[in-house]
């Protein structure tokens, strides 16, 4: 016992010193932490925003975990994060579980491209019926008259079509099935729209890299991947006939065109697939941040609103560098107005 007492006396100043030092370092880095979680698709964009915003307002730091849209929705509903992020709008069912009014703030958009692997990789043009037919397993060969009808110049082999789809739940699949449900009644009743579905045909690859890998290596394969991914991997992808009957190549401009012409409801829970514009690429979708209209912590809420405002104005300008499509001006103004409605 005595020995123990002696040691305490001896150690006490050291321990006190340590506590003081810890306290000092804690107060030196007393930054506000704003936590978010959700979608993986916009993660590169968001992390760039957080980096840049640290220069604008050094007193606030963001911690974003890209755990997937499902996780993002769950965590904002449970109020374990200050904002959520999702690649698809929340369902009525999920929204009704929220303890307060949840706002959808659209940030950027992307596109799904139809990538394929054919001998010589001819440029292909596909219309809605053909794409639905292929993914329903009804069009089985590349030289099917439905494909050759809009590709008179291309040499199409007598080869089996191997459909490749995502096996993991993803916003990419949500956009893809949302498009197919809009253009094909049969798809809508048989399969439907979701982050993962009961596929009528094909093999599943994990992630964009899994689908891209399988399309690149399987002769006769067709699959959908994000635009950025197809560009980076130098894959061939098809022009798709849009709602106004024009074949459009997927690009950032044709995505923004879709955003500009799509019907966008007031709660911002919109889908921009099959948009009516002449230059709109039909298979694209936006991604959202999810925040409560009534912020619990006034200080944090104020900082969050400041950031959202900055993101909608200055952040949007960084989007194209990272291969995301920015929101068109008209929508941007509406988003800014919505951000102003957040109460502290």
């Amino acid at each position: 016992m005595r020995q123990f007492g002696v040691m305490t006396k001896f150690e006490l100043p050291k321990i006190l010193g340590l506590i003081v030092a810890l306290g000092l370092s804690a107060s030196a880095s007393a930054q506000m932490m704003i936590n978010g979680a959700g979608a993986t698709f916009p993660y590169p964009m968001y992390s760039k925003w957080f980096d840049e915003y640290a220069k604008v307002d050094p007193s606030v730091r963001f911690n974003y975990q890209s755990i997937g849209s499902g996780g993002g929705q769950k965590q904002i509903l449970a109020q374990t994060v200050d904002f959520g992020a999702s690649d698809g709008p929340m369902s009525d069912d999920n929204l009704s579980k929220a303890p307060g009014k949840l706002l959808h703030i659209p940030t950027v958009a992307g596109a799904d491209v139809v990538a394929y692997n054919l001998p010589g990789n001819p440029a292909l043009k596909l219309d809605a019926d053909t794409i639905a037919g292929i993914f329903l397993g009804q069009i089985k060969k590349w030289n099917d008259p439905k494909i050759s009808a809009s590709n008179s110049g291309a040499k199409l082999p007598d080869q089996e079509i191997v459909v490749v789809h995502r096996s993991d739940g993803s916003g990419t699949t949500y956009i893809w099935t949302d498009y197919l449900s809009k253009i094909s009644p049969e798809w809508k009743t048989k399969v439907g729209t979701n982050t993962s579905v009961n596929w009528p045909t094909g093999i599943g690859g994990k992630g964009n890299e899994g689908v891209a890998g399988q399309v690149k290596q399987t002769p006769g394969a067709i699959g959908y991947v994000e635009l950025i991914y197809a560009v980076q991997n130098k894959m061939s992808y098809a022009e798709v006939k849009n709602a106004s009957g024009k074949f459009v190549k997927p690009s950032l401009e044709s995505i923004t065109a879709a955003l500009a012409t799509a019907q966008i409801p007031d709660d911002f829970r919109f889908s921009i697939t099959n948009a009516p514009g002449a230059d709109a690429y039909p298979i694209c979708g936006a991604t959202w941040l999810l925040v409560y209209e009534q912020q619990k912590d006034p200080a944090k809420g104020k900082k969050l609103v400041e950031f959202l405002r900055w993101a909608a104005k200055d952040g949007e300008k960084m989007a194209t560098d990272l291969q995301y499509a920015p929101l068109p001006d008209s929508l941007q103004q509406r988003v800014l107005k919505r951000i102003d409605e957040i109460k502290m």
């Binding site: 993803s170 979701n194 982050t195 993962s196 599943g204 290596q217």
Partner: protein, 327 residues
């Protein structure tokens, strides 16, 4: 192996108790280790309990149908686990069929035959194989193994055995067989290194006795070494099987992820672990999440069941060989 270990532990604790009946340190040590051992048991029970709680609504809704139906439709919220159960069992079985002979032969070569200058490099190479992260093996699977399988071994297998249902149908590449092969590569190191330790622990007296009776090297290995080590080798295989059932990332990347039950091993399949890894992050509805939890519960149950069966099998093997020895 487990039985032998528990006997050894019992013996040792008896010795300790005899040597020091009333020392506080020993008591404390006993309690401490007991607490640690119990913690493991409690952990397993808690995991099972949590899975049960997480899937209770789905269990109530789908009941026994969950285990015997094949539709997996997140949109209509119809969930059946049969194709995943089938895929898990079949891919693990393929993996064992490939890995067990390879591993045990390798272990036998290393302990019985290999000269020293081969032994050491080979052992470290095998251990290195165990250190390759699963996702790297998966990438290698997509970009190297599958194209090769599709171009050479699969057409060959189809030409030879295409008349059986097991190798019929079109060749895509990603398939049940590819999944089994990837798992085999992943469980090879653990079965090999455990088997090697087991074979090394066979007393030299055994071998010498066999040689003294005029046995050849093969006969000595078979009679003196393998039959002596049978139980331990079986344990090594069970360890490998445990890993095979739960292997996730690499399998997901090569198995094709299609929930179907097809006799042909060249067709894509799906496993329990893969569907959880694939769909958990984006499951937004409650029932969907519940169904995925139930998949976890099923995998948990299968793992325990397979281990129990293995223990039983082990006991029958050892008792029958013991009676034969007596006769």
């Amino acid at each position: 192996m487990a039985v032998a270990a528990s006997i050894a532990v019992e013996e040792r604790s008896v010795q300790v108790r005899m040597a020091s009946p009333s020392r506080f340190g020993d008591k404390a040590f006993e309690w401490l280790t007991l607490a640690m051992a119990l913690a493991v048991v409690v952990l397993v029970i808690l995991i099972g309990w949590q899975l049960w709680i997480g899937s209770s609504v789905a269990i109530k809704k789908f009941g026994f149908h969950f285990l015997v139906t094949s539709t997996w439709d997140p949109v209509a919220e119809q969930f059946g686990a049969l194709p995943f159960i089938y895929g898990t069992l079949v891919s693990s079985l393929i993996a064992l069929l490939i890995a067990v002979p390879l591993s045990i032969a390798t272990a036998a070569y290393l302990t019985e035959l290999a000269p020293l200058w081969i032994r050491q490099p080979l052992v470290s190479l095998i251990e290195m194989l165990a250190a390759i992260p699963s996702v790297i093996l998966g990438l290698w699977g997509i970009f190297v193994m599958i194209p090769w399988l599709r171009d050479y071994p699969f057409p060959f297998l189809k030409r030879l055995f295409g008349w059986t249902p097991f190798f019929s149908g079109p060749i895509y590449g990603p398939s049940m067989l590819a999944g089994g092969i990837i798992i085999a590569i992943m469980i090879l190191p653990i079965i090999t290194s455990v088997s090697r330790e087991i074979l090394r622990s066979v007393p030299n007296l055994q071998r010498e006795a066999a040689y003294a009776l005029g046995a050849t090297r093969w006969e000595a290995t078979r009679i003196a070494v393998f039959s002596y080590a049978k139980k331990g080798l079986f344990g090594a295989v069970i360890l490998g099987l445990g890993r095979a059932l739960g292997e996730t990332m690499a399998v997901t990347m090569v198995i094709g992820n299609t929930p179907q039950i097809a006799a042909s091993l060249l067709k894509p399949g799906y496993t329990l672990a893969s569907v959880i890894a694939n769909e958990f992050t984006e499951a937004t509805t409650d029932m969907y999440l519940q169904a995925l939890f139930e998949i976890g519960l099923v995998l948990f149950g299968i793992t325990i069941l397979v281990n129990l069966l293995a223990q039983l099998l082990l006991r029958t093997i050892t008792t029958t060989s013991a009676t034969r020895a007596v006769q």
